[in-house]
Symmetry: C2
Subunit: 220 residues, 2 copies
């Protein structure tokens, strides 16, 4: 008998994950090469060596397969957030967790920038990409709730949702303007945490003492 006894991972389970992963990757690769509309389900299935029908056992659409990469991101995000030290301010924790997650993936490949841009456009159009982000958002909200003691779910969802907004905006900015992702992301999260003083600078709704936003003028 084999000495390896995987704790809770039956062989079946491993195979399933493997297949799913392979399908998602194939879908992404083919889409980056040819554009989404030139990839048939049959192509993806063939690439992995599996029947088209089987593809639909794992994903109910091409778009879903491509976006599953985005969805899987939630795991890393949750772990990163829960791993932050106890006493740290919430916004700082969230910021670091998000940055950590996105720096782990690295700035996307230079050669694929054009393709990725195209892909993003298509996925934005079809709603599937946004849908995927919504999934990440739910997990993030849960995690935030756990982090702060889980009282006001509404606010947790708001925070998660607006953080995802920042991510999306930064992403779009990256692939339309070519500016690096992480600095933009950091800046946007800081703005969020402060109620966007740079925009509202001259006419802050809750200035109290708006000594923190005099330099915002240069941009707005």
């Amino acid at each position: 008998m084999p000495p390896e006894e995987p704790p809770t991972l039956t062989l079946r389970e491993r195979k399933k994950r493997e297949a799913r992963r392979a399908l998602a990757q194939a879908a992404l690769r083919l889409t980056l090469d040819r554009g989404l509309e030139n990839v048939r389900v049959e192509d993806i299935a063939t690439e992995v060596g599996v029947s088209p029908r089987t593809f639909n056992n794992y994903f109910s659409s091409k778009e879903q397969a491509v976006c599953s990469v985005v969805i899987d991101r939630h795991e890393g995000m949750r772990e990163a957030l829960l791993a932050r030290p106890e006493g740290e301010p919430l916004w700082e924790s969230v910021k670091q967790a998000v940055l950590e997650q996105y720096s782990r993936e690295g700035e996307p490949d230079r050669a694929y920038v054009a393709r990725t841009r195209e892909l993003m456009g298509q996925l934005m159009l079809r709603g599937e990409f946004l849908n995927a982000h919504a999934a990440v958002e739910r997990v993030l909200a849960e995690t935030i709730a756990k982090r702060v003691g889980g009282v006001d779910h509404l606010l947790c969802r708001l925070m998660a949702s607006s953080v995802e907004s920042a991510v999306r905006v930064a992403f779009v900015n990256w692939f339309t303007e070519g500016e690096p992702l992480l600095p933009t992301l950091e800046r946007l999260l800081d703005e969020l945490a402060a109620g966007m003083p740079t925009l509202t600078g001259g006419t802050a709704p809750k200035p109290e003492s708006n000594a923190t936003t005099p330099l915002g003028e240069s941009l707005c």
Copy 2:
């Protein structure tokens, strides 16, 4: 010759708008009655008295037709925002504009709550609803940019995006918890404007002088 000379609205144009509107409404009504999966394109077309092929001249999918109601909201939002007085603080303007728009539509029909919930579930699943929100978001960002002088587009997009986040969260809260929409919305927008002090209250990232957030304790 007819004495009426519509300024820039040719007859053709009116018919098109009418048809589009009729199709969208039919799509929404049927979906609320039966659920999206039980509505075929053919049904919608028949309801309006038009060929199925024509439906696809106006909308490229059922989902798009249903969501066009959401998209049309952007018009009202833009006007409302641009109509706010000059000197008003930006967050206040945005808040009032959004509230105005959503109070104009009125709290949704009691009888349709259950149906609407179901519909939202389906539309959330298909990403089309989120897609529609993204469209509103783009217009909102533009409008905000115009409002503040249009310099930092990135921040404008962030603000628009997070405002839409608040709207979505309030909406979901409405149809899952049954709480009234407008008060929730107002509260969420206030929280956004202040960087969500209620959540981060005890551990604000940019306290400077955190004399503004002592009362947040009650919730968090």
